[in-house]
Amino acid sequence: MKTNESCVISPENQSVQIRHLEDIQSRPSCLRGKGVTKIFGTGGKQTVAVDHVDFDFHEGELVSIVGESGSGKTTLSKMLLGLLNVTEGEIFYQGKLRDISTAKKKREYWKGIQAIFQDPFSSFNVFNKIDTVLLDCINMCGGRHFSKEKKIELMTEACCFVNLKYAELTNKYPFELSGGQMQRLMIARVFLLKPKILLADEPTSMIDACSRATILDMLLHLRDETGMTILFITHDIGLSYYISDDVYIMEHGKFVEHGTADEVILAPKADYTKRLISDVPKIYEPWDLSTVKY
């Protein structure tokens, strides 16, 4: 069992993250989409939320999908999670066509893909204590028969990974924690479940700048430790640049640009990307408010 001290992520002992994965393109594909489309409504009142998008996420890659509100990011993530049906197109999971036609198959699929949502306050069952939340995860991934000591050891390790103290969390309810702590608890859940893919839908947009850095570093650490694919969905292009290997830019349901983080952010080609970057308030260059059109 790890001790509390050895696994605390502090600026001093934090390992240098592997930020540029050279062999990413040669890795096997984890999740691939071909012409994925989602249309809401029928007849005359149709809204095309996601419009024939193609993507290929490799194993161990940290990909971010960036776009403004209403660009279809969340709809796409819901389709990837199997919470929404795909109107047209195909999604391949680990090289095979994804089949979630029955409840049993869907449950099996969810063992491989997990999510962290935007609002930590509504992500937990308010009636369950934190122990129950974590125990459920152990039971879900085949640890039902483990001894009590083993289960506590696993839970302690998971809490320790996200810099929380298990002893202080026992017998507490999720709402007794702060937003940042709750989001870290979500990451502890993912650490226990060890899915192939983690879908993080704006995990830092509701917490302050100070806890945000901690969460981002934990996601990077999680990827390095377990090798899972992380899809980071955000509207903040700065965060995506900091954290990801590959960036997809989404506008009106379509991917307008795709490439490595350095290519997309430092040398953007699409006008939309250029606008997104110029709209972020920066410190070292003046922010131009005169060009804003309502």
Binding site: E68, A209, A213, L216
Partner: protein, 337 residues
């Protein structure tokens, strides 16, 4: 010398919980804002930014209670007034507030035009509906909002549009001071820019005379406000101009905040972000001495029991720390090297 619009001296307010415990959320806060200036307040969640905003309006209702201090708007003291008088004579005309979640600030069952009429009737029951409509239309046009918004329900507006509508409504009576409490945190970058442009327009056109902008996004504050004040656990820890605070923060906490900035610029990617470890203190039992001592890298034993006052330096700046300015600068210089 320009005129002072808002002056606050030693404001202390507390929450009284169900179990009769006192939570000192705003502790001895003093600030002044001059005509045409804006002040940014930064700090992490739970440090008392929003409570300070509520306290500044002089509008106290349980569990928030006023303890001491003075709030002076344009020469008139509003502290100690009863809530009903404050609501009728101060809110909207002297000081206005933009809440964090504009999405919930509008009435879902009435159109914007009706909502504006209600707002104005609350201050002047005899106001003519036609004149109100004309005022609303001209103000919306000046602020770049389409007139069609007036005849729509809030559900028909996008998030950014709702936020701008709320701003237009809260400043319709030309308040002297506007408090914007994280008006852009829930918006994407493009809508955020529109909201900021609108706030700047309001200042430039003279509809508001001073502004307080609360957020945890420091690059945003740097681009929007003239001065920045950093709060920690209910107290001000450092105050200075935006430039000084971003490029040369003195207090260890302000420095920690500046180091957690992420912007899409070359060099961000390989920079190590230094998050401040630990959690803020429990304000039910605030620690004696420096409140930041528990999380501070440069803590020395006397930090934990010496009560710290705000110390002035370089003429205009103030900070609250047990270490001398020379010592801190020396330590930072060594660290950077």
């Amino acid at each position: 010398m320009s005129k002072t619009v808002l002056e606050v001296r030693g404001l202390t307010t507390k929450y009284i919980t169900r179990f009769h415990e006192d939570v000192y959320a705003v502790d001895d806060v003093s600030l002044t804002i001059e005509e045409g200036k804006s002040l940014g307040i930064a700090g992490e969640s739970g440090c008392g930014k929003s409570t300070l905003a509520l306290s500044l309006m002089g509008y106290y209702f349980a569990p928030l209670h006023y303890i001491s201090g003075e709030i002076i708007i344009d020469g008139k003291s509003i502290s100690g007034m009863d809530p009903d008088t404050v609501r009728k004579t101060v809110l909207g005309t002297e000081i206005a507030y933009i809440p964090q979640s504009a999405m919930n600030a509008l009435n879902p069952t009435c159109k914007t035009r009706k909502f504006i009429q209600d707002v104005i009737h609350a201050h002047d029951p005899h106001a003519d509906n036609k004149q109100i409509s004309e005022l609303a239309e001209s103000r919306f046009a000046e602020l770049g909002l389409p007139a069609s918004v007036l005849d729509r329900y809030p559900v028909e507006l996008s998030g950014g549009m709702k936020q701008r509508t709320v701003i237009a409504i809260s400043t319709i009576l030309k308040p002297k001071v506007l408090i914007a409490d994280e008006p852009s945190s829930a918006l994407d970058v493009s809508s955020q820019k529109m909201v900021i442009k609108m706030l700047r327009d309001l200042m430039d056109k003279g509809y508001i005379r001073a502004m307080i902008f609360i957020t945890h996004e420091l690059p945003l504050l740097y681009n929007v406000t003239d001065d920045i004040m950093v709060m920690y656990a209910g107290q001000i820890v450092e105050k200075g101009t935006a430039r000084e605070m971003v490029f040369d923060p003195v207090h260890p906490y302000s420095r920690g905040l500046m180091h957690s900035i992420i912007v899409p610029e070359q060099g961000t990617r390989n920079k190590k972000l230094s998050a401040i470890p630990g959690t803020p203190p429990n304000l039910k039992k605030p620690p004696e001495g420096c409140r930041f001592a528990e999380r501070c890298k440069y803590v020395v034993p006397q930090c934990r029991y010496n009560t710290l006052p705000m110390i002035e330096f370089e003429g205009t700046r103030t900070y609250r720390c047990g270490h001398s300015i020379q010592h801190l600068k020396e330590v930072y210089r060594c660290e950077d090297e």
